[in-house]
């Protein structure tokens, strides 16, 4: 096989991959009227200012929930989605603005393994054709050479005896075998960088370990480097040297994997680690996990994106009108039906709170006044004065037909603060930690 390389070079003067302030924004088209009059109505910031670098022979885990932008980040690195701004350098070469013809030779060096092995192989191609396809795309038209390379790749991924597999179709293979074939196709051009997007999450438990083991073997034998995109912190623990935890398009915690597992700093990372169910009935998942779900990336929360769910949020985390709506809804959830029937008339449409703002105008229902709304809000506060949302409220005043709720205007959208070897986008660490002085920030955001 032509791609056999020596061990990863010991001297790493230059990272294999470096990503700087990468942004991928998708424009929203909005409703019919907006489309008619043209112009977009905003954008989804799928990746919003991400920076990191990957040394040769290293595995970077990009971990996040669905909607965190991890898959888009993985694709943007390979330029399979359009990059809005920022820089991607592979082996020292800036590929961000390369044209497609100029990029094509570069793709030999960077390949992708997709999540769903059933969907990433063409059902009408046998393995010889499918795995040999990248070679032909890159100009190899000698059948014997293609065949020899495919045989070598099949051996490499353990699909032996190879003559048994060369002419098999995806339908003849089990899930694990398909994923091996996908990996064979990814390594046949001899890449240095593999972006693996959830390569084991569709596989059965008894098979996952085998594929992970294969990927580790390939890393050692071929000197591969991986960007391992996953939602699963348990497999990432096994596989990654460095971790980047993503939330709503940004890295919220970055650092050596070992350290993050031992001492997660961001409240989001802490909850993710706590939420993984252990196959041991004696241990149970704590019940104090963050409420709610990852918010709409088209309208991210003000301040820190995680603040509405954060168990440790405080005054300046970015409290705003939508948090007030959640608060009122949670109050009604906790109270009996008849109280809701009575209270809902006090407040007009809650949708008035849906636009993010630091001044919320809570309209009074018909027959009620702003004073009634103020009174209602005070009742909610009286019941749970320690609810963190109130720390962000500076004033609640009667404005006649509505109640005006003023939130703090000094909220901060946290950049990545250095804490020891880790970088954490959380305001709890804005002055570092008492014991960790921190180093130079490696990644910055606006």
């Amino acid at each position: 096989m032509s791609q056999t390389k020596p061990e990863a070079t010991a001297v790493d003067t230059e990272p294999l991959l470096s990503v700087e302030d990468l942004r991928v924004h998708f424009a929203l088209r909005g409703g019919l009227m907006q489309r008619f009059f043209g112009g977009s109505v905003g954008s989804v910031k799928a990746v919003d200012g991400v920076s990191f670098s990957l040394k040769r022979g290293e595995v970077l885990g990009v971990v996040g929930e669905s909607g965190s932008g991890k898959t888009t980040l993985g694709r943007a690195i390979l330029r399979t989605v359009p990059v809005t701004s920022g820089r991607v350098r592979v082996a020292g070469r800036d590929i961000t603005d390369l044209s497609e013809p100029a990029l094509r030779p570069m793709r030999r060096n960077m390949q992708m393994v997709f999540q769903d092995p059933n969907a990433s192989l063409n059902p009408a191609m046998d393995l010889l054709t499918a795995i040999g396809h990248p070679l032909r795309i890159h100009g190899e038209d000698n059948d014997d050479k293609v065949r020899a390379a495919v045989v070598a790749a099949l051996e490499r991924v353990g699909l032996v005896p190879t003559e048994l597999f060369l002419h098999k179709y995806p339908a003849d293979l089990s899930g694990g075998q398909k994923q091996r074939a996908v990996i064979a196709r990814a390594i046949i051009l001899g890449p240095e960088l593999l972006v693996a997007d959830e390569p084991v999450s569709m596989l059965d438990m008894s098979v996952r370990a085998k594929i992970l083991e294969l990927m580790l073997e390939l890393k050692n034998d071929l000197g591969l480097s991986y960007v391992y995109v996953t939602h699963d912190l348990a497999t990432a623990k096994f596989f990654c040297d460095t971790l980047a935890i993503m939330y709503l398009g940004r890295i919220v915690e970055y650092g050596p994997a070992e350290q993050i597992y031992a001492d997660p700093k961001h409240p989001y990372t802490q909850s993710l680690l706590k939420a993984i169910p252990e196959p041991d009935p004696a241990k149970s998942v704590p019940r104090d996990l963050p409420r709610g779900e990852i918010p709409d990336a088209a309208r991210p929360p003000l301040g820190c994106s995680f603040h509405p769910r954060c168990p440790k949020a405080f005054e300046i985390c970015g409290w705003e009108s939508r948090d007030l709506r959640d608060l009122v809804e949670r109050y009604w959830l906790a109270h009996p039906d008849d109280e809701f029937e009575r209270d809902r008339r006090v407040i007009g449409a809650l949708t008035a709170l849906d636009d993010p703002a630091v001044t919320a105008d809570v309209p009074a229902g018909s027959g009620h006044s702003g004073a009634d709304v103020v009174q209602f809000l005070e009742r909610i506060k009286g019941e749970d004065p320690h609810e963190p949302t109130w720390t962000g409220v500076t004033e609640v005043v009667d404005a006649g037909s509505s109640a005006k709720v003023e939130f703090r205007t000094d909220a901060v959208d946290p950049p990545l603060y250095p804490v020891g070897d880790q970088h954490v986008a959380c305001l709890l660490y804005r002055d570092g930690e008492p014991d960790g002085n921190g180093s130079k920030p490696r990644t910055r955001r606006r």
């Binding site: 929930e65 669905s66 353990g158 699909l159 032996v160 005896p161 048994l164 597999f165 089990s174 899930g175 694990g176 075998q177 091996r180 596989l203 059965d204 438990m205 008894s206 098979v207 996952r208 370990a209 085998k210 992970l212 083991e213 939602h231 699963d232 912190l233 348990a234 497999t235 623990k237 096994f238 597992y261 909850s271 993710l272 680690l273 939420a275 993984i276 169910p277 252990e278 196959p279 041991d280 009935p281 004696a282 241990k283 149970s284 998942v285 019940r287 996990l289 963050p290 409420r291 779900e293 990852i294 009122v328 809804e329 949670r330 009604w332 959830l333 039906d337 809701f340 809902r344 809650l350």
Partner: protein, 351 residues
Amino acid sequence: MTLLDGDEPLPPDLVMSVKDLKVWYGTARGPVRAVDGVSFDIRRGETLGLVGESGSGKSTLGRGVLGLLPDAAEVSGKVLFRGRDRVTMKRRALRSLRGPELGLIFQEPMTRLNPLMRISDHFFETLHTHERGLSKTQMRKRAIDTLGAMGIPPTRFTNYPHEFSGGMRQRIMIALALVLNPAFVVADEPTTALDVLVEAQIIGILNDIKRNFDTSILLITHNLGIIAEACERVAVMYAGRIAEQGDARAVFARPAHPYTRELLASTISLSTTELHYIPGAPPDLIHPPSGCRFHPRCPDAMRVCPTRHPPTVVTELNQKVDCWLHGPDQLIPPGGKESLEREAIGVADEA
């Protein structure tokens, strides 16, 4: 509900008793024995976890106990529910049970709600179909109460499905199944499509259901972590049969069947220190291996294993297990306990 003639009464602590259930599908290559002789009981207010890898027949079993299998499926055995055998029951009678007595929570919350119907209308339709005579106010109260127990605020009652996130939709699906107060619910991989934090929330809800609704749950999953979190008892399925069942704590602490042990060892969790896997692949259910179906992959296989299927044995810890390691010794022929000589399993046979 009254007991009909010809049916067996159930002990009062059981909600459902499944006896030697078989579900076979016809294919051009021969019958697929998706479920092949499965017996288990579900007690009142308990959650039984049914764990297995893909293709083990666990979803077919879940549908089978609800009578939701396609017409082409050949079903035999007994599913006793409320003192009646569900397998021989008439289609219409069965239909009247589904909803008020038997519920199903699906795997994909994103696709199971009608996008053109408000959440309120989903509930009105369900309640109207099964409990005629309720006034609109009563229906509204029932629905809002159930949704509230699942953490959906009353202000969202008239929203459309697209206005909810995945986790909220799964909560709505659970509320829809529970609003009729069924005695028994099958939850088929209810958290598979969800993120880990939302998954933990849904597990919390499933645990609350037991307390607040007195509903028994058959929780189907491939995730042993979820079983450990949410179930009192567990049944481990392999190739259409239950390899082992028993108290979840006992099974996890001292797995009696080699498959359970190997599956536990293969599960990658935060406390995993070394990678482990089961060689080989789950068998083809058209031509399953002879004898014990796990024997080709079993590290403990003995000479007796390929010759005949082990009978179900109850261990000291009250686990029911189908494995010759636990005897009965009088059925094992002389020399049957010697270890089985096999060729090594190559990757070619692997999953």
